[in-house]
């Protein structure tokens, strides 16, 4: 349950109080050492959360940077001459190129490569005797993803870092066409860095991005899988990358 003081402490620390309210709150702080202690602890927690969140954003920006670098045009004059030469060769190859089949559309690629993950919930991390576990497994396996999604959410509330449950939730979101929540779920699996599920997170996030017409961003994830011979979906990633190119 939310502590009534939570809101005002957050507003104070996030500079959301007007001058009068801030002044009044600071007077309360001066008179109430328990409140002052609570504010100081919150300040420390928020700084830690922001530090970690900032580092995660930096990782995201690094991925955008790599995509930008791989797609940006060369600028030096030397490259222009090379470009002219390449252009001539390209002109010769153009006819051949036009005769080739058009690259597959994202929707077709997605449909070709996507298979729902085989969620098995009888793992040692979960109470497999729980009626909820049996129910969610049955709903998921019978393709009732909307109902399964709600149950996955409820199970995750009790066990928020369980990778199998997260994966099940992400697949349900994907099946329901909820691409943004699915993106967030698969990214969270990757960020958790659990070796058992990290590759699955990358694979399904890449497919989600392809379905969202963000193939360029999907490529960097696929490259990570394609470069690691031990990764799950290693071969799938290699062939999908070839088709995207």
């Amino acid at each position: 349950m939310e502590d009534p003081k939570d809101n005002i402490i957050d507003q104070y620390l996030m500079h959301q109080l007007d001058d009068e309210s801030r002044h009044k709150f600071e007077q309360q702080l001066a008179a109430d050492s328990d409140l002052a202690e609570a504010v100081e602890l919150r300040r420390i927690l928020v700084r830690g959360i922001r530090t970690q969140s900032r580092d995660q954003l930096k990782q995201r920006l690094q991925r955008i940077h790599q995509t930008h670098q791989s797609s940006s045009k060369p600028k030096s004059r030397g490259f222009l001459y090379i470009l002219i030469a390449v252009g001539l060769i390209a002109a010769i190859l153009l006819a051949l190129f036009l005769l080739r089949p058009a690259p597959p559309e994202p929707a077709k690629l997605y449909a070709t490569y996507y298979q729902p993950y085989q969620v098995t919930l009888g793992s040692r991390d979960l109470n497999s005797d729980s009626p909820q576990i049996a129910q969610v497994e049955s709903l998921y396996q019978s393709g009732q993803y909307q109902a399964a999604k709600s149950l996955f959410e409820s199970l995750l509330a009790a066990d928020p870092s369980n990778g199998m449950l997260q994966l099940g939730l992400g697949i349900c979101q994907l099946e329901e066409g909820q691409l943004e929540p699915a993106t967030t779920t698969f990214q969270a699996i990757i960020d958790q860095n659990n070796p058992q599920f990290k590759d699955q997170g990358r694979w399904y996030l890449a497919l989600t991005l392809i379905r969202s017409n963000q193939a360029e961003q999907a490529k960097s994830l696929l490259e990570q899988l394609a470069q690691d011979p031990d990764a799950d979906h290693h071969r799938d990633a290699q062939t999908l990358l070839q088709e995207l190119r």
């Binding site: 502590d3 602890l41 700084r47 959360i49 969140s53 954003l57 509330a157 066990d159 967030t184």
Partner: protein, 192 residues
């Protein structure tokens, strides 16, 4: 080259949809990265320095916009250039290198607090590490609230919660978990 206007980019950075935010970052890369890269390379820096610095400047820009505390009375180009120059100046001083800036690009004076988001202490990093041990949902909720500054209604929608109150309660539970982890660690430290 992306043709988004500054207003469209800022609107994108303010979106609750991560895809819109990333589109805005991509537009900023396409429009301004080459300026920063050439500025850094002419002032003793490498390509890696330029990448690192530009990403830091984007974090500063994003943070200030999401805080609602950025009064932008210049273009995003001028702002990003000013932040990068300021950060690069600090870095060069720490490397004890001579600074020869000979750019003819307009810039603005930045307040000292402008780049606060980039500063951290050992304690911040320790708490950040504990934060990363929370469950994925807790990390997302707290990041959405304290870093991305999303409203509870937006958080509820993103997380698939029934309503805003559920999001508030979850956030409170997650914060309590983190608080307990910090206190437990403090107790362990005192004992050892």
């Amino acid at each position: 080259m992306d043709k988004s206007t500054d207003e469209q980019i800022i609107e994108g950075l303010l979106s609750a949809d991560v895809r819109e935010v990333d589109k805005a970052f991509t537009a900023l890369y396409q429009q301004h990265y080459s300026l920063i890269e050439s500025f850094i390379s002419r002032n003793s820096g490498t390509a890696d320095d330029a990448a690192d610095l530009f990403q830091d400047a984007l974090i500063v820009f994003y943070n200030r916009i999401r805080e609602g505390r950025l009064v932008l009375n210049c273009t995003t180009r001028t702002y990003l250039y000013s932040v990068c120059k300021n950060l690069w100046l600090k870095k060069l001083r720490s490397r004890k290198k001579q600074i020869i800036f000979s750019e003819d690009i307009s810039e603005i004076q930045l307040a000292a607090e402008e780049t606060d988001i980039l500063a951290d202490t050992d304690e911040d990093r320790k708490i950040g590490k504990l934060f990363s041990q929370l469950g994925a949902d807790c990390q997302r909720i707290l990041t959405f609230f304290y870093f991305d500054r999303l409203r509870m209604k937006e958080i509820a929608a993103k997380m698939g919660f029934a309503n805003e109150q559920v999001a508030k309660n979850k956030k409170s539970i997650c914060l309590s978990r983190l608080r307990k982890m910090v206190k437990d660690q403090q107790i362990d430290k005192d004992r050892s």
